[in-house]
Symmetry: C2
Subunit: 393 residues, 2 copies
């Protein structure tokens, strides 16, 4: 992959050769793919290729060679909709909804997993493993099936039945783990190292997978035609938020845009390590002690054994001039109903945190009513329909 220079440690800056590694060999922190932008942007051909479908339009900025056919199910190019009724009800002039539930396995995770499985195919890898609260597992199972690669998924016991059903039907092996996502994370990490399988866990562990998240930025830019003032994204560890911001930074490097958006990260109050650190002005995110459950299971990540991932996201939020916000389960469920009834879009509770956060920002003066905002609807409501009943009780 000659368009990639190195894997750079986000902490100490050490540069590693391009290889299948998951953390800095010196300090153990997460890695970031560094491209040869000079080479990529200087090529005469167009940066984005309309003739390739979905996210593969942006292949020049993805960590694949480009010689293998992508492992694709038609991911990306999800609907970008103006929510006029929603805006009116919230008291803002405009709000846009980027509906990632329109992806093949009904969540944004199809972006990083399509990239990761394409990489696996290029490298001749025959088995992959991932930890997941559900959405990553479903996407991993589907793309592994499409690629003809075996797939094992470590999930917390609390994973919704709908998501387990999908993993099963795609033929993946499922390992239910006692405890939280962080426990599943540790087991997947150990198994991957012991067995030599590719680890797809979509925190910041796999530096290649999260590059797929950048395509969200390119699409928002292309569909909106400019850069929104705020982008609100539900976050566990936060790779989608960080990836999306990197995408905008790349557009700026390419001279296509001038300003960057403010990145807003949302967490559920019951599991909000990043929002807490932001509110308290901390430099680093600490692990969260789980005391209660939340309806937003997809983003309930206490970061137990990898709080530095939260710090990476916190730093991105601050760099962008954005905020991190925690919302209650009640606010989340009200956001879900409001979005469905106003706009005909049904998301899972983890996603409607974005609507709840927008309401808080408007009410609390965190944004002007004439600023533009995009709420990212990360996953489909049917993937967590049981939470709907739970939240309505």
């Amino acid at each position: 992959m000659e368009h990639i220079k190195a894997l750079v440690c986000v902490n100490c800056g050490h540069k590693h050769e391009v290889d299948i590694i998951y953390e800095c060999k010196l300090c153990g922190h997460s890695l970031d793919v560094e491209y040869d932008y000079e080479m990529i942007f200087s090529e005469e051909k167009k940066l984005f290729k309309d003739e390739w479908p979905g996210i593969w339009k942006y292949r020049k900025l993805l960590p694949v060679t480009g010689t293998t056919a992508p492992v694709s199910l038609g991911e990306g190019r999800t609907p970008f909709l103006e929510g006029e009724t929603l805006a009116e009800k919230l008291g803002v002039s405009t709000v846009f909804l980027k509906n990632e539930a329109g992806n093949p396995t009904l969540s944004f995770k199809d972006r990083p997993l399509s990239v990761a499985l394409t990489l696996a195919k290029e490298r001749g890898i025959d088995k992959v493993v991932t930890a997941s609260t559900g959405n990553t597992g479903v996407a991993a199972a589907a793309y592994a099936a499409r690629a003809g690669i075996m797939c094992e998924i470590c999930v917390p016991e609390t994973t919704p039945q709908e998501k387990l059903t999908m993993m099963e039907v795609f033929g993946a092996e499922i390992k239910a783990v006692e405890g939280t996502f962080s426990d599943a994370y540790d087991i997947a990490k150990r198994v991957a190292l012991e067995q030599g399988w590719l680890n797809l866990t979509s925190t910041f562990l796999n530096p290649y997978a999260i590059e797929g998240d950048k395509t969200l930025a390119y699409e928002i830019y292309e569909q909106y035609g400019e850069v929104p003032d705020h982008i609100i994204i539900p976050i566990g560890a936060g790779p989608l938020l960080v990836g999306c911001y990197k995408g905008f930074q790349e557009l700026k490097k390419a001279g296509m845009i001038e300003n960057l958006p403010k990145m807003v990260g949302v967490q559920a109050e019951a599991c909000a390590p990043i929002a807490k650190a932001f509110e308290q002005g901390e430099e680093k995110v600490g692990p969260w002690k789980v005391k209660e459950k939340t309806v937003a299971g997809g983003i309930a990540d206490p970061l137990t054994s990898y709080p530095d991932d939260g710090t990476r996201t916190l730093e991105t939020i601050r760099e962008s001039g954005g905020v991190a916000i925690a919302v209650s389960d009640d606010e989340i469920m009200r956001g879900l109903s409001l979005l469905a009834e106003s706009e005909g879009i049904f998301v899972e509770p983890s996603s409607s945190t974005a609507i709840a956060a927008l309401r808080k920002m408007v009410d609390g003066g965190g944004m002007d009513s004439d600023e533009s905002v995009v709420c990212v609807c990360t996953g489909h409501g049917l993937k967590d329909a049981s939470a709907l009943k739970q939240g309505r009780k």
Copy 2:
């Protein structure tokens, strides 16, 4: 709507003025929208407009004025994928999958319902009603919410909980009806007439809604680049199959293609009025006496009070040189697993009938191994996940 000439009775040919009517005033049969093709095709501008998203690219051939903004959730432009592993396992050279689960409410019904609600908005209609086995109801509820129009849905008691949950969350009123879809059909029809609400029932009752189904043909043509030999479509009454064929006929009228595809309609053995009439060489389809349930609830339509709708579909199948096929619940569930494990695509049992039918055609000599075939995956597996457990028992 000056690009539309009349609503023509498919039985007696009587031409009615363009208005909200549901059946021929002379003989009671279903109606077909007749366009002024000469005018449409003679316009200098391009027939398909890339600058409009999804199905609205084809607006010139849809029954709307074009002055109202469409009621859109990003429907259409669904993935068109080659299934190499699936083809290998079935013993054919190529098979393509048109994945309609990629629509906003996870089924092809978003095409006709987006058209129908746009029409409702244009006409200032404030309430709509529909009968549904689930998918139409979900789409109607979502698009009605988006349009700010009230929606009532008559469903058979056996409708899967997943689909009911979606209708509820969009704020629709749900009326559970004892009996089959045909019973729900009668009630919706009566309510619509009595109350003056627009009836969206997606048999052939609403002549405008089914025009949205044509866009499936335009997309297959554009994504494949040519006309496939066979298109396999799961059918209840069959508007998708008939609409899709009409779309190809229009492409031929426009001089864009030379040949038409053979249309293959698939039903479940437990409810197969059209397949039975085809196999027995009958001219007309008769109502089906329901004796047993099927996992393919989405297409289990006995056509009790409107068997002529089945005849319209039967005639289209014969005209195209295609066949109607019935498949067993076992074959349907094997098709579902085969598709999920081979290609990473999870459909509901009603949709995997298409895979089961393809297998039957190949095994029974109904197609040559070098002919091209498109299986239409009509709806997402998560919308009927309970059937998965039922079918696996």
